[in-house]
Symmetry: C2
Subunit: 256 residues, 2 copies
């Protein structure tokens, strides 16, 4: 089920027949030898600055339950944050929350180009190809990006548990929010703890909006998906939410 | 200066230093052996249904004057119209104006997928890569798609000579319109003879809008660019228009 492409992206379950395409841009905290550890100590490489802890396990469990493909990153977002365009400072941040990133303090134009060519371009090309193939087959996939956020941010605890974020078209996000509030006990909120204004909808804007595909970004507080049992339990809840949200859109004629 | 990629796209002047990226999706009326002639007679293969006559010559002459790259198609738009997404009927139209397209009457899902994989996916991947590389280098390219339209449509003559069409961000189109009206004697109009509502801004929406790049689609009446001298003369006028429009945006701080 696993297929590697040029090292920048793995598509798991490429031929899975379900209606969703899951994306996990911050899946892992890997620092391949080509890029090195960016001067980070082990604690920072383990922290939420380097990846979205728990997001990959949740995304895989959702993809399995909904029989849909998962497109995921293979390297830390501190090397290249695939949810940011190449001109964004956030693509290779010099600082992330309370963490300094020495290897990103003075990224040369050559280095920025090399990371863009090695990571951003192939990742988004593979995702685009998968979506275009589905469109050519008459499918209208629903794009769901899966993220996690830290429970404490700059020293402040966060109450929100499940953030549901949209790009230009809010319809799937609103349907997911309605189901999440109705079906789960989660503190679920629209466009929290981040929103499109924070640049976090780049993948949605690049991959779904121009093709008219329904889309949503899920942000789970990472203490709720800290290990495999918690990820499986959360996927039980959220897969039912996503299935019901897709049905609601279909009943309104908004997806086929 | 010419480089071929998988047969679906040619990038001319890839390293040219100018601020524009020109795109010509309907550059040629070639029917490569793999796809055949779609049952069309020679007259239809020469007609505007199969390509945008004069657009490639104009686009090349503009790219040369503005020292900018040109990304162009290598096959007739009747095989795959690169300015349409894979689920659009217009990507492989069964009819175009007064012309029936026998080879597109009953495109199977396998054939639709094959054309999408061979033509749409690599064309847009190469264009995306070129733009992403420029962004990584700190450039903010202006995307200009170059088209032509027939002077007589369903028997009706068209008065408009230069159509200037925009996607979500009208700023470059409006600047081009102001310069075209001021500098040239051309009958220049915004969002004529087509507009985004006719699906003609797919390339702009896919490639420029998500990256915040200024963009415009130029539609020239093809009797005005019928041969090389006419194309060169038109490029003299329109290159000055584009240069002035870019300067106007830069003066307003809208491009860097």
């Amino acid at each position: 089920m696993e297929e590697k492409t040029e090292g920048a992206v793995v598509i798991e379950g490429r031929a899975a027949p379900g209606p969703f395409v899951f994306v996990c841009e911050h899946a892992v905290n890997a620092f391949p030898a080509r890029w090195g550890a960016l001067g980070l100590d082990a604690a920072t490489r383990e922290s939420h600055a380097a990846w979205d802890p728990g997001a990959l396990g949740l995304a895989r469990a959702l993809a399995a339950r909904l029989q849909s493909p998962l497109v995921r990153a293979t390297h830390s977002r501190l090397i290249y944050d695939l949810n940011r365009p190449p001109h964004s400072k956030g693509a290779m941040p010099a600082r992330s929350e309370i963490y300094e990133i020495p290897g990103n303090r003075a990224v040369t134009p050559e280095e920025r180009l090399a990371r863009t060519e090695a990571l951003y371009i192939p990742f988004h090309a593979e995702l685009r190809a998968l979506l275009a193939q589905k469109l050519a087959r008459g499918e209208r996939p629903l794009l769901v990006t899966v993220h996690s956020f830290t429970p404490v941010w700059h020293g402040q605890p966060r109450a929100v548990e499940c953030g549901i974020i949209h790009d230009a078209d809010p319809s799937l996000a609103e349907a997911v929010l309605a189901e999440a509030c109705g079906q789960t006990g989660l503190d679920s909120r629209l466009n929290e703890p981040y929103s499109a204004a924070d640049e976090v909808t780049h993948t949605l804007a690049l991959q779904a909006t121009p093709l008219g595909l329904k889309n949503v970004m899920l942000e789970l507080r990472n203490d709720l998906i800290a290990d495999a049992p918690a990820q499986e339990a959360m996927a039980d809840r959220l897969s039912a939410v996503l299935r019901a949200a897709a049905s609601a859109l279909a009943q309104r004629g908004e997806v086929t």
